[in-house]
């Protein structure tokens, strides 16, 4: 059951712009950065952040995509399938990697991503950017850049819909109550 709209398209655009600025500010520029999006929506968000950074900083930050299926800790407990290709166009060694995902929940996906990136090389630092932090962490992991902190119930459903990945005309993030069917995250 629909509960509330957390972000509409304009809110999302502003959140992307702000996060892009925060990333550049924190890292004193955009040199040496690489944005790595986690499937399925992370790569699209990473591309938006890179476009925003290019617009005000005039640096083309490399964007990669990462699939963490083979690094998860719940393999065998549920149906785990690869969601897309892992493609990182540059050597991450010595760079600052910013992991990008839509929703931060238990933190287990991020833990898997830390392992996956480590096998690609040794970044100087890794940071995390998410559109929504919905709480309920099961691991000591936190985000460096957050679109919105959203208190949720464990059974609730945060639905992110992006034009690139979800076949919708307009971006939105919504909170749905437990009795709703379908959805993800």
């Amino acid at each position: 059951m629909f509960r509330t709209r957390v972000f509409d398209a304009s809110d999302l655009r502003r959140a992307h712009t702000r996060i892009a600025h925060e990333i550049v500010e924190r890292n004193h520029g955009a040199q040496d950065l690489v944005l790595i999006g986690l499937h399925t929506r992370g790569p699209a968000i990473a591309r938006r952040l890179a476009a925003a950074i290019a617009s005000f900083e005039e640096v083309d930050v490399p964007v990669g995509s990462l699939d963490v299926a083979f690094y998860r800790d719940d393999i065998g407990l549920r149906n785990v399938q690869p969601l897309g290709p892992t493609e990182v166009p540059v050597d991450v060694t010595g760079r600052v990697v910013v992991l990008v995902d839509d929703v931060l929940f238990t933190g287990r996906t991020i833990r898997a991503a830390l392992d996956a990136v480590t096998e690609l090389g040794r970044p100087r630092a890794m940071q995390l950017a998410v559109l929504v932090d919905r709480g309920h962490r099961e691991l000591p992991i936190r985000a460096d850049f957050v679109g919105k902190n959203l208190p949720t119930g464990v059974g609730e459903d945060v639905r992110v819909r992006l034009s690139e990945t979800d076949d919708v005309a307009e971006d939105a993030i919504e909170l749905w109550a437990p009795d709703a069917s379908g959805g993800s995250e």
Binding site: F70, Y71, I75, G76, V80, Q81, P85, T86, G121
Partner: protein
Amino acid sequence: MKHLLSIEDLDRAAVEALLDQSDAFLDVLARDIPKVPALRGKTVVSLFYEESTRTRLSFETAAKRLSADTMSFAVGSSSVKKGESLLDTVKTIEAMGIDAMVVRHHAAGAPHRVAQWIDASVINAGDGRHEHPTQALLDAFTLRRHRGPSLDGCRVAIIGDIRNSRVARSTMLCFTRLGARVTFVAPPTLIPERLDGWPVTVAHDLDDVLGEIDVAYVLRVQEERLGQALLPTLREYYARYGLTAERAARMKPDTFVMHPGPMIRGPEIATEVVDGPRSLVREQVTNGVAVRMAVLWSLIGSGGHVA
């Protein structure tokens, strides 16, 4: 999916799902560290009652790339020599705690029996003249990478000892599942006596089909299985069915050449054809590891059978 025993058990969607996953594993193999922790803590044992180099090594490589532990069981140096039955051997290995058993056996149906006896997943790595499903999947995967996701309308000639070949049967089934049209090309004595219900056509003259095919899939003449006098001489066979450079030149310029190995270079398939630009032979071997990773992952990793 709990076991992989036969291509016959898989419909088109199941084949495509396995091949899609193989793409992901081929990416893993191309990395600097071509290894993922997906099957950490799982144990894969290979039980080979027939000799094999590439299939056994390919499975063991696949398991290691997934971080599984591997055990290898060579019949020659085992208690089988002392008369232990297949049942007892399998039960003994299972008692050590394993998750998957890769079985090759000279008797058709042996992996099916093993699957009834143990709780672990069983993968058929070749049983007698029956099936060799992972070879078929890697063949389809290799061809698909060059022909686009579907093989609809693709014309394949499988040339050689069809009668004794488990590869011919599995690969024919798998190619057909994806929409290809398969022709068996061999002398009448090397074609199975009955092909009832097999979705294939038969040709006895290689030169008749050369110009029409998109893929020439060459099989080895299995001298160890020939037994009876099915061929006057191998020389005569090679004269009519060997894929020489001259015959290859009469194929369409974009016709691919495949071979499951081991090859007899020269009479069976000319060196310049094997090493030529249209040959997928080496790629088949590389892709074999990725496809077997996908199979192991689907059976004991992904949890697809847990739900």
